[in-house]
């Protein structure tokens, strides 16, 4: 593991502002939702069914699988890729202070052998996200299915996530270029982004700090953008899926319909 300068103070200040803004935006949204009529959550006696539906529809996205295999693959890659990286970031957020305090197992992940595990984790989920975004881009800009909305908010989000993922891999490539040998076999994607050997160590260090800053502040920008983007669905869709399951969990025609059996054709095709 290499040590390099990171503008932590600026980052933490920005993180507090970005997080504060995001929290305030969510609070305003909650105020808006709370204006509505209160409704019960009729879950008694059907908790297992609700959980089963929720797992199938949120974690496996079975409903998309039924509609389009390609869309399911794209969305699953983006969903799991993003979830895996978000988990890594959250873990870092909470463990980093412990690492500073020298607590053993936190140190193991950031400086010890466990660091290699985080590299494999990051690269695997990063690859999933990158693949998903590339396929989403192909679908959106080349295949152009008629159902697709191409409002600015649709394009911005894909572009933003692509930028974040790509800058993350460039950052990893730069880290590897300054790291002792052997590390790159764990960053099996990051090593593809290692710069050619035309740069001096000083130049690489400068590029590393710059790339870290770009990646880190872009991630904070995502926090600001999130409440106003269509990414809200990633937070609210699981809520709506659970609420609907509480009301309609017995509906076989809704939850496990066999489109193949029905030979259903979309209006667009008829």
């Amino acid at each position: 593991m290499i040590e390099y300068f990171k503008p932590w103070l600026l980052f933490w200040l920005a993180a507090i502002v970005a997080h504060g803004y995001m929290d305030y935006s969510f609070y305003r949204k909650w105020q808006g939702w709370a204006q509505g009529i209160r409704q019960p959550f009729p879950h008694k006696g059907k908790q297992r069914r609700i959980v089963k539906i929720w797992l199938a529809e949120v974690l496996l996205q079975r409903q998309l699988f039924g509609l389009s295999l390609f869309r399911w693959l794209v969305h699953l890659l983006i969903f799991w890729g993003f979830a895996g990286l978000a988990l890594l970031s959250l873990t870092t957020f909470f463990l980093r202070p412990l690492d500073f305090l020298g607590i053993g197992w936190a140190h193991y992940f950031f400086s010890g052998k466990g660091y290699l595990f985080t590299k494999v984790w990051g690269d695997s989920f990063g690859l999933a996200l990158l693949l998903g975004l590339v396929l989403a881009g192909i679908r959106r800009f080349i295949l152009k299915p008629a159902q697709q909305g191409n409002k600015q908010m649709d394009i911005y989000l894909v572009a933003f996530l692509f930028w974040l993922t790509l800058s993350g891999f460039f950052l990893e490539g730069l880290r590897l270029s300054l790291s002792p040998g052997g590390m790159d076999s764990y960053s099996f994607i990051g090593r593809l982004f290692m710069p050619a050997g035309i740069f001096t160590v000083e130049q690489l260090k400068f590029m590393l700090v710059a790339t870290w800053s770009i990646h880190a502040f872009s991630a904070l920008a995502l926090l600001v953008y999130l409440p106003h983007s269509k990414m809200m669905h990633s937070i609210l869709a699981p809520v709506v899926i659970a609420l609907n399951a509480s009301e309609e969990s017995e509906r076989e025609d809704l939850y496990w319909p066999d489109i193949g059996k029905y030979k259903a054709k979309k209006s667009r095709e008829t």
């Binding site: 808006g32 204006q35 509505g36 609210l236 809520v239």
Partner: protein, 422 residues
């Protein structure tokens, strides 16, 4: 002006429930709804799609919808048959039909009225207690006329004179529309053939007022409670309806207001049971190839898919073929949700598309157990100049059980050219 829009938005939000407010922001904008919406297939404006309506309603609540967008949104909201297809295919499971109906209610409560055609229809229903604007005294005449013409085995008793274990609720269309009275007559005759004891309310039969809920009329809850009280006070235990709209109204819309809603059955559910128990005997062959049109109010909204199909399959020599879209994916005929009242031409186009789909099966006829869909599909036949026949499900059963009570015979008798069978 912007402040006024915001205040109005808050007023609308207060009449939506929390889940619905969350749903407005949960849309992933995937556009799957646009692939399936039968109305969007005819009018490809974004405001028609569920995706567009969700986004526009969200903007309306925060006061950022422009005047032009507001006009578009209102068109989209009311030119929707609330068929629920978008709910079935939505990966997020947004309960769209509930949302559209509640949004209409919220808008009306905030002082934004429905389109003229719908207001007219609602005024008629509330003024006359039926959607035809006819005197209530005429409501039960179909039974007397059917008895006089010899279509019934006995005169159907009025509930006030002889209450039974079962109430047959004919509904406005089968009671008042001369072209649809055959549905009430055939239902009554089939129940008599099976030995079911039943009565009718006659002129005391109210409109189910499901349309008030469909179009967001704030009077719905109070009116529904009045009707529920009427049924309870009359000692009604089981209600049989022959109209999918009345079923949706009395069974689903009243559900949270009246425990008796559980005891409302659609006539196809009863036919299925009677056939199974051997009380209703199909004898004559009906050599027809037919396709079945699922009414949205029965199928997607209430999951009654199999009983009507089982009834049709019980008819000797009748062959049932399915359309490309059936059961949960059945395409709407466009008659629901007040679409017909808001934009008749659009309904005709939606129905024409369904008729073309029915034609593609090679069937000789399309059968439906709903008089509203029946009328809607006829518009489609007219629009496409199709030779496809449209039948109410009763007609298939009656041909096999007692063919003398045919629609043609009833139409002739009721139009003055009486056919005496007795």
């Amino acid at each position: 002006m912007a402040r006024h829009r915001k205040i109005q938005g808050e007023e609308i939000a207060r009449n939506l429930n929390r889940r619905q407010l969350i749903e407005l922001e949960a849309c992933a904008r995937c556009g799957e709804c646009t692939n399936w919406c039968p109305v969007y297939a005819q009018d490809k404006r974004e405001c028609i799609s569920a995706r567009g309506k969700l986004a526009m309603l969200r903007s309306m609540l925060d006061g950022s919808l422009t005047a032009e967008e507001r006009t578009e949104f209102l068109q989209g909201l009311y030119q929707c048959s609330a068929c629920g297809q978008c709910h079935i295919v939505c990966p997020v499971r947004i309960n769209t039909p509930e949302l559209w109906e509640q949004a209409r209610y919220a808008l009306v409560s905030a002082g934004i009225p429905q389109p003229e055609g719908q207001v007219k229809q609602l005024t008629t229903i509330k003024g006359f207690n039926n959607s035809y604007g006819k005197p209530q005294e005429e409501r039960g005449l179909w039974a007397k006329n059917a008895w006089d013409a010899g279509f019934l085995k006995s005169l159907v008793p009025l509930w006030s004179e002889r209450p039974s274990s079962v109430l047959y609720f004919a509904g406005c269309t089968a009671s008042f529309d001369p072209a649809m009275q055959f549905v009430a007559v055939q239902t009554a005759r089939l129940l008599q053939e099976a030995g079911v004891e039943f009565s009718i309310l006659g002129s005391d039969e109210p409109c189910c007022i499901g349309k008030l809920r469909r179009m967001g009329d704030p009077a719905f809850t109070e009116e529904a409670q009045n009707r529920a009280r009427q049924f309870d006070n009359s000692g009604v235990r089981t209600i049989i309806v022959s109209c999918a709209g009345c079923y949706k109204g009395l069974h689903s819309d009243y559900h949270s207001l009246w425990p008796g809603a559980q005891k409302v059955l659609h006539v196809t559910q009863l036919y299925e049971q009677l056939l199974h128990d051997g009380l209703l005997r199909v004898q004559q062959e009906v050599p027809l190839v037919v396709t079945y049109h699922d009414p949205c109010h029965l199928g997607r909204h209430n999951r009654i898919y199999d009983p009507p199909r089982n009834v049709l399959q019980a008819v000797p020599a009748l062959k049932l073929v399915e359309m490309a879209r059936h059961r949960a994916f059945s395409a709407c005929c466009g008659m629901g949700g007040g679409l017909k009242a808001a934009n008749p031409e659009l309904q005709h186009k939606v129905s024409a598309s369904r008729i073309r789909e029915a034609e593609a099966t090679g069937a000789q006829a399309v059968v439906t157990p709903c008089q509203t869909c029946y009328l809607g599909l006829l518009h489609g036949v007219e629009e496409t100049s199709s030779s496809l026949k449209v039948y109410h499900l009763n007609e298939m059963l009656i041909r096999s059980v007692c063919p003398e009570v045919s629609r043609e015979a009833i139409d002739a008798a009721f139009s003055g050219d009486q056919v005496k069978l007795k």
